[in-house]
Amino acid sequence: MASATTVKLVISSEVRLVDVVHSASETMAGIAGFDEDQSLNVGLAVREAVINAIVHGNKRDPSRRVDVVLKARPRSITAQVRDQGSGFDIDAMQDPTSEANILNTSGRGILMMRAFVDDVGFKYREGRGTEVTLKARLKRGRRDDNGGSER
């Protein structure tokens, strides 16, 4: 397989930098062959991961960094977003669409990630923070469902 086209970004933990990573992700999705709407989906998923890294992981401390690696291959894109935080329990996550939570003003980021890309993985390592890995594959033809995906 041809080696992936790779972009690494390092940002300080400021929410106004989210747009930089968002637009880089959209461009990379375009390189991978995604159309405009599919690229926006990738951009939005990466955006949510970066927001979480800045807000929850790094507690908006601008001296902490967020590391992002974007890899475009023909028909697929991978994003890794890593913070310097102390992790969290993904299994404790509440369903933001439940009646109890629907009027909460937060708690929808991971839902969006899972809706907009095919795979979402979380890994926490002591001293290395949380790493979120997002993968999206280009669907063939006009099918809306995602036949061969292992999601």
Partner: protein, 111 residues
């Protein structure tokens, strides 16, 4: 994001354009709705026709506006969400929380 407010009868129609995202659109939306509520304008219709997308912070602010209006005896309704904005309202099931209209002529008398 940009906003302009029109008054149609007793309803304040807020035409939004751009994206409702963290640190920018969400704050503009919050401030605008706050201003309307403080000024005694309790019937608020957010026109989303020209909103290209929202992130989770933007969606959260929509909910916050909805709740803040309700606390003050007011209402926030939505007009013409489309594309990604519509997808997001469906995904988050907020489609069932908000009153949503496709036409301004139908939205206005509903207040």
């Amino acid at each position: 994001m940009k906003t302009t407010v029109r008054t149609v009868g007793e309803v304040s129609v807020v035409d939004l354009s751009g994206k409702i995202t963290i640190g920018e659109g969400d704050i503009i939306l919050r401030d605008k709705v706050h201003e309307l509520l403080e000024g005694g304008h309790k019937k608020i219709l957010l026109n989303l026709e020209k909103v290209s997308y929202m992130d989770s912070a933007g969606i959260g602010e929509l909910v916050a506006c909805f709740k803040r209006a309700r606390e003050k005896g007011g209402t926030v309704k939505l007009l013409k969400p489309s594309g990604k904005v519509e997808d997001l309202l469906q995904l988050t099931k907020l489609w069932e929380v908000f009153e949503i209209f496709g036409e301004e002529q139908q939205a206005i008398p509903s207040f």
